[in-house]
């Protein structure tokens, strides 16, 4: 009992710390910004840090404003100040202009505390969004494949033919239209809708014809092969090769690549767990009660495999954040002007400045430690 209580407290602490990091990530522009949070003008209050339209008002009336509330750290992450405060240590005496640099500055005079806060935003975006996406795709595909393993997807020869032709046509026209007229959401949706409706109709017509031999389509085997192919490209090498393909670096590109690379891990675990749960008595009785497949998958199987999936999700968030930090440490993949933890650490290593290395790494370490503790607790249960 004492053991459980001990782990519970560690778990609570981790959750608490993690949610503070998430909050910092969400409210980063309100915590560290060169623009004030709120200002009193003759026409009423304006919020330059919050609203884009107030920014213009602020910059035009800067001189006349007397009552302004600054953000917690009154520096933007990209504000440089080489002449006054370049590479200042937090312990060193500083020429105080606007405010003290609590965590020092880098070689261009950018405030480290502000960079830390904006770096949290990038790290949280990449960590959580990419894992959310890969969780969604990976778990759906993995569960589907395991669920259809034995009773399977049985199609007659006409249906297989239709499937091949429709996939071919969809890919052919979809890709070439993409090439000819660029990416357009509506055209893509239109094609996809035609594809789905046409496919459904054809499937329906084909199923009307009786006396055709049914063939078993082994989706599970295909998934295993896909996972094997993904596993044969080792992590950071394929990540580096893929990031170089994009001409314009951005956070969303990194999120997409990490999602593309990590969904197979979720699919693998969801598949294995579903295979274990699938033949339990309560699933069999749900079948006998006549529940439809989607309900069985999401109401009966998913809750039972969730705790082991959360373990994987925790590790994946950690490794996604580490991957982002590694990439920006190497100076690849993110826009040059964006301040991230990895970039600060790389600069600190080159310039031998301890505060540039210590604080971002400490933040990374705390996040990973929290995630590992949470994963540990779920693993024990």
């Amino acid at each position: 009992m004492t053991n459980i209580r001990k782990y519970l407290t560690a778990y609570h602490w981790s959750m608490f710390t993690l949610s503070i990091f998430v909050m910092i990530g969400i409210f980063a522009p309100l915590l560290a910004n060169e623009l004030p949070l709120a200002c009193k003008t003759p026409d009423g209050w304006i919020f330059p840090a919050l609203l884009t339209k107030d920014r213009l008002v602020y910059s035009s009336k800067k001189m006349q404003l007397d009552e302004c509330y600054k953000t917690l750290i009154p520096f933007g992450s990209q504000n440089t100040d080489i002449s006054r405060s370049a590479a200042k240590s937090p312990c060193q005496s500083q020429q105080i202009g606007l405010a003290k640099h609590w965590l020092g500055t880098d070689k261009l005079g950018r405030d480290v505390a502000s960079g830390m806060i904006h770096g949290t935003q990038t790290a949280m975006q990449i960590g959580f969004i990419s894992v959310f996406l890969s969780f969604f795709f990976g778990v759906s595909i993995g569960m589907g494949a395991a669920y259809l393993k034995d009773e399977g997807l049985r199609l007659n020869i006409l249906q297989i033919l239709f499937l091949f032709i429709s996939v071919f046509i969809f890919l052919f026209y979809g890709l070439y239209e993409l090439k000819f007229s660029g990416f357009d959401n509506w055209i893509f949706m239109f094609y996809f809708l035609i594809f789905l409706v046409g496919n459904y109709l054809l499937f329906y017509l084909a199923s009307l014809i009786k006396d055709l031999k049914n063939y078993f389509i082994d989706i599970d085997m295909i998934l295993i092969k896909v996972i094997e192919i993904r596993k044969s490209f080792p992590g950071i090498f394929i990540l580096l090769a893929l990031t170089t393909l994009f001409v314009v670096p951005s956070v969303w590109n990194i999120i997409m690549i990490i999602t593309l690379l990590s969904w197979t891990e979720f699919a693998r675990f969801a598949r294995a767990e579903t295979l274990v749960v699938k033949n339990e008595n309560y699933i069999v009785s749900a079948h006998l009660l006549g529940f439809d497949h989607l309900r069985i998958l999401y109401r009966h199987i998913l809750p039972n495999i969730m705790s082991s999936l959360i373990v994987i999700a925790c590790f994946s968030v950690g490794s996604a954040i580490i991957l982002e930090a590694t990439l920006s440490y190497l100076g690849i993949g993110l826009p040059v002007e964006q301040v991230t933890w990895g970039k600060m650490m790389a600069e600190g290593r080159d310039m031998q400045l301890w505060w540039l290395v210590f604080f971002p790494g400490l933040a990374l370490f705390i996040i990973i430690l929290c995630l590992n503790t949470i994963a540990d607790v779920f693993n024990r249960n």
Binding site: V247, G342, F365
Partner: protein
């Protein structure tokens, strides 16, 4: 056993094929023109007279004029093999016009007619001594235009500037008209078979011969560069492997056997901390604090990570001895995470085994704890560990990348990183495919080894 191995190999062949196809198409997707980079490497300037001839020679030498794959699925109005057009500018113009859905025959017709017309007009100008800057500008514009409106507009502005009746001699007016009428609205897929003379075929046969092309940075063979780098990465990987095993397995065994003891709790805590430390943070902290006397003179323990000078003929052993002091810090950083991970795995496996009947039997016989651990539990723990360790080896290759970059070790990771900066795609994708094939090989070996040492699988096979 042999049949099992053969079956595994046969099952891995399609995976290998798809991995190769993916790596090849990724390498073809990168920006830039390979032939142009090779010309730059040979020192042929774009302004020099023989540029065109040299370009053509290099283009054909690199097989760039061939189609990409054995077959291609294209719209029926498309050019069957757009790579046949050797001049890069012309190739871009054709593909840009194809994107606007004009039939390829009309496009090729237009391009040859355009060049001929420009020649005719230039001849006419020389003969009649016409000097007109606007005209020159328009002609340049005409030779670069890719949008249909622009093309039409330019030629219509040229029309009144040249002598009456000359535009009848220029075939371009007819072909532009033809081009506009040949706009395609509907198209059908066309599957074209190219046979074995394609770029993928050449690439794969090169790969089998060990020929991955030339590096555009220094003109050396990619395979030589990779082999030289691979030694270092393998050295790091094996050092990591052995040190991790030596420390993690005993510590995991002891912790698992005495689960709940003070030692177990302390080691659990330490491993949890060590497991969560980002490797490059550890490395950077070591470099900042422990390689100079900036912060305290007693902290200056390790040498500064320096540049490595490795002459071509020098044996690996000499280099290792020369630079052994530089290898200490990288290996410490490399093993930190892995020790923690492995010892936690061993601990949980030992805890599973501890409650088995055979352990109780051994205890009842009065064997010492040490003997039970080494003789009875360890072999049973090692069997599932094979899969874990097999997965660690390729992961070690990726883990070594950032360590190699930070500590300037001339391994694969550093080579890859530098090659990305030089846009040296042959090396980047050469490394990618070699590392992938290596990973597949390790997967195969672990599977076979697992089946070999595990009596359950062995009997099930026979």
């Amino acid at each position: 056993m042999g049949i099992f191995a053969l079956k595994r190999i046969l099952l891995l062949l399609p995976t290998m094929g798809i991995v190769m196809i993916l790596a090849f198409f990724l390498s073809k997707w990168v920006p830039g023109d390979a032939a142009e980079s090779f010309l730059a490497l040979q020192g042929v300037q774009q302004e020099s007279n023989n540029y065109k001839i040299e370009y053509e020679r290099n283009y054909k030498l690199l097989n760039l004029d061939e189609p990409l794959f054995y077959f291609s699925v294209i719209p029926d109005f498309y050019h069957p093999n757009i790579n046949e057009i050797i001049l890069p500018l012309q190739r871009q113009q054709v593909s840009s016009l194809l994107k606007q859905k004009y039939a390829s025959k009309a496009i090729l017709n237009y391009i040859s007619d355009r060049d001929e017309s420009i020649k005719i007009i230039k001849n006419w100008k020389e003969k009649n001594g016409v000097i007109s800057e606007i005209m020159d500008e328009l002609l340049v514009k005409a030779s670069f235009a890719t949008e249909i409106n622009e093309i039409d507009g330019v030629w219509q502005t040229i029309k009144p500037l040249i002598a009456d009746g000359l535009h009848e001699a220029c075939p371009v007016y007819r072909s532009v008209e033809k081009l506009t009428t040949n706009k395609v609205h509907w198209y059908f897929p066309l599957i074209k078979w190219h046979g074995s003379s394609n770029q993928f075929h050449h690439w794969v046969s090169g790969l089998i011969r060990g020929d991955l092309g030339l590096s555009i940075k220094d003109g050396r063979e990619v395979s030589h560069k990779i082999l030289a780098a691979l030694k270092w990465t393998l050295l790091l990987a094996f050092a990591n492997f052995i040190i991790t095993g030596i420390i993690a397995i005993p510590s995991g065994l002891a912790a698992g056997y005495r689960a709940g003891s003070i030692y177990d709790r302390i080691s659990n805590f330490v491993w949890l901390i060590l497991y969560s430390i980002p490797v490059f943070w550890l490395a950077s902290m070591f470099i900042v604090y422990c390689t100079s006397s900036n912060y305290a003179s007693w902290l200056n323990i390790f040498p500064v990570p320096g540049l490595w000078y490795v002459p071509d003929g020098q044996s690996m052993w000499t280099t290792v001895v020369n630079y052994s002091h530089l290898l200490v810090l990288p290996i410490i950083c490399l093993v930190a995470n892995d020790i923690a991970q492995l010892s936690r795995i061993v601990r949980s496996k030992v805890m599973d085994q501890k409650s088995e009947m055979y352990v109780m039997m051994a205890k009842a016989k009065g064997q010492s704890d040490f003997k039970i651990l080494i003789k009875h539990i360890l072999p049973n723990v090692m069997v599932p560990l094979i899969t874990v360790l097999g997965g660690k080896l390729p992961a070690g290759l990726s883990g070594a990348l950032i360590i190699e970059v930070i500590f300037n070790i001339p391994g694969m990771g550093r080579l890859m990183y530098n090659s990305i900066y030089y846009a040296d795609w042959n090396v980047v994708f050469g490394i990618l495919i070699i590392v992938s094939l290596f990973t597949i090989l390790i997967m195969l070996l672990t599977d076979i080894l697992y089946a070999y040492v595990n009596p359950k699988v062995k009997t099930a096979l026979s």
